[in-house]
């Protein structure tokens, strides 16, 4: 299969008065057509910076793409001028934000907002755009007669449906979903996730699902990338990540979640905190918190992602499963 998105050695830094924050370091990531990739990491790991880099929504300055390429169907997004990126943003690549309460314009009806997105990218009449907008609302399970309602008249789950309708209105090739259900209750989250699965079958949009919930990843994604302190530490298909875990950080994350299926008296947290992103580390970024850490880990950058299986790569001196040569 062909890659619709190819991120190569991407490094992004924020230059602030208090120093330079190295938000992304040497990210390599591929997304195949029609695939759902889960991007997992803690607060401050760089998940949202990565999504915003792809959308070219980074605030420049202070942010700067220091190095690397983002290739979207043959074209390098990092080189595009404003006009070129505007033709892609919201059209071929669109984004769902975490908080539906603040992603919608409070003074426009939801139908108008979806119509606006459609008109921005399609050369069609207002009426056509309006009927397309109603159609999108029905697709996400909202009846047509609510199109003239304002965002405050909708509940959180319904608002997120509107945001999803807007993101899919131009039939994008890539959907970036940044924690789409974090602000929702579990039962509503289940509804929205089920709907997203249905839409996936219908539109076959390649999706990057950003989340910190490993349960959602296991249920929604085919491929998973684990990001820590601005680096992808492990990437592979969902089965390998959960069952054949290679990176100590991934293992730590999996063990830290309390389970409703297992009885355990005590959780196993990952000790310590994520390192300060303003300081470049000599060795592995995770070494301070890693129980397998050794001298080599503290003083030397781990080898660039090595293969531990088919499409399963890890960036670690001491991967937990054996490497393929």
């Amino acid at each position: 299969m062909s890659n619709i998105l190819d991120i190569k050695e991407l490094s992004v830094a924020y230059h602030t008065e208090d120093g330079t924050v190295y938000a992304l370091n040497n990210i390599d990531l591929e997304l195949e057509d029609g695939e759902t990739l889960g991007l997992v990491g803690e607060t401050g790991a760089g998940k949202t910076t990565l999504a915003k880099s792809i959308m070219r929504l980074l605030p420049v300055p202070p942010a700067k793409i220091e190095y690397g390429d983002i290739i979207f169907s043959g074209e390098n997004i990092t080189d595009m001028d404003d006009e070129e990126i505007r033709a892609i943003r919201g059209n071929k690549i669109s984004m769902i934000f975490q908080d539906p309460m603040s992603a919608l314009n409070p003074v426009l009806t939801v139908g108008e907002q979806i119509k606006e997105a459609i008109l921005a990218h399609n050369n069609i009449s207002e009426d056509e755009a309006w009927s397309k907008s109603l159609e999108m609302l029905e697709t996400v399970g909202i009846t047509k007669n609510r199109a003239r309602d304002y965002p405050h008249q909708f509940s959180g789950g319904m608002k997120q449906r509107v945001v999803i309708a807007m993101a899919l209105a131009c039939n994008p090739q890539i959907l970036l979903a940044d924690e789409p259900t974090t602000a929702l209750d579990v039962t509503i989250q289940a509804q929205v996730l089920a709907m997203m699965r249905g839409l996936k079958e219908k539109f076959n949009t390649a999706t990057i699902l950003i989340t910190h919930d490993l349960g959602i990843v296991a249920q929604m994604c085919e491929k998973v990338a684990i990001i820590y302190a601005g680096e992808i530490v492990e990437v592979g298909n969902v089965h390998d990540i959960f069952k054949n875990t290679a990176h100590p950080y991934t293992k730590g994350l999996l063990e830290a979640i309390p389970s409703i299926y297992a009885d355990c008296k005590r959780l196993k947290p990952i000790d310590g905190l994520m390192p300060d992103p303003t300081i470049r580390h000599e060795g592995c970024a995770f070494s301070e918190r890693c129980i397998y850490c050794d001298d080599i880990c503290i003083h030397n950058q781990p080898p660039a992602v090595q293969s531990v299986g088919t499409d399963h790569k890890v960036r670690c001196w001491k991967p937990l499963c054996s490497t393929l040569s």
Binding site: S155, D185, T187, A190, L193, L214, G215, Q219, P258, I270
Partner: protein, 320 residues
């Protein structure tokens, strides 16, 4: 495990908020006990009244009616000075460590504030105050070097540790924990949950643990109350509720949690609709509109509580 001592007893607690559209039933007729040294988990969706319940117990909100007994005395009949004394025994940890700390107070100032407010130490006795602050920081695992830091310099996990240190400052017996870990990352969440369990064991604390996360509640609670629109739908021991979830709502909540295992596919018991308005709730089962098993009678009848197992109560027509 005989002779459990009841620390907190809630009887027919109600809190209605007046709104222009009618009374909002935030907490509607709850009755339960919490034993000394145990944790009662309160689970439910946003808007089901979990936080209102916690705040009513601490008298941060005045309940509409009902009785709250703490160590046998009725909290609602306390005079203001008595209430102030009582507050040394009952404390709260808030959900959001980003907004529950004063941004202009250093860690030390935040932790000593309750000590000074209660007049336990004289303002001039800095040596004793500092010793107590050190002790508390040590207890919650905050390094001494943060003593003069401001909240914005610290991450969420450390901020929540300050929140816990503050709550512990007066040596309370009972702490309402209002979603203490939901703003934290999983790896940090596990650190804080372990800390809270250790503190409970060491200091003999009793918790009312409010959360929307069933896996957290299972992990930390001895007993669980599942709430829906101000009422409890199911309560019992943690073991019994997870082994034999009986109310359709509890089962729906459980089935809605994404399973962190790609080999197990989620069962699709998806609840239709959303929490309806807690204003003008009317008769019948409040969950009936969303219940996959609802029958006509559910909308009309008065519900009573049924004991399905020893100490495991369900409020559902199906069991009556």
């Amino acid at each position: 495990m005989a002779n459990k001592e009841i620390l907190l007893k809630i009887v027919n607690l109600k809190k209605y908020f007046d709104t222009p559209y009618g009374p909002l039933h935030a907490v509607d007729d709850l009755t339960f006990d919490i034993n000394k040294g145990e944790t009662l988990g309160v689970v439910g969706e946003s808007g089901c009244g979990k936080s209102t319940l916690g705040r009513c117990i601490l008298q941060l909100i005045k309940p509409t009616s009902g009785e709250i007994y703490f160590e046998g005395s009725d909290v609602l009949k306390c005079s203001r000075p008595e209430l102030k004394m009582l507050r040394t025994k009952m404390q709260i940890i808030f959900q959001d460590p980003y907004s529950s700390l004063n941004p202009r107070m250093t860690v030390a100032q935040a932790i000593q504030a309750p000590l000074l407010l209660q007049g336990l130490y004289s303002k001039h006795d800095t040596a004793s105050i500092n010793t107590r602050v050190d002790e508390l920081m040590d207890l919650v695992g905050l390094a001494k070097r943060f003593v003069n830091s401001y909240p914005h310099e610290l991450d969420g996990g450390r901020r929540q540790r300050i929140g816990i240190a503050r709550a512990l400052a007066l040596n309370p017996k009972f702490i309402v924990c209002d979603e203490p870990v939901s703003a934290l990352d999983v790896s940090i969440q596990a650190q804080i949950l372990n800390l809270m369990q250790d503190l409970q064991a060491d200091l003999g604390l009793t918790y009312l643990f409010i959360t929307h996360d069933l896996s957290v509640v299972k992990h930390i609670s001895d007993n669980i109350v599942v709430m829906y629109l101000g009422q409890f739908v199911e309560r019992g021991s943690s073991e019994s509720i997870f082994r034999n979830p009986s109310h359709p709502y509890t089962r729906a909540l459980l089935s809605a949690i994404p399973i962190p295992d790609p080999d197990i596919r989620q069962k699709e018991v998806i609840l239709k609709g959303e929490l309806c308005s807690p204003i003008n709730v009317g008769n019948g089962c409040r969950f009936a509109k969303r219940c996959p098993e609802a029958k006509d009678e559910c909308f009309a009848c008065d519900l009573s509580v049924v004991e399905v197992e020893h100490g495991h109560f369900v409020s559902c027509k199906k069991f009556m």
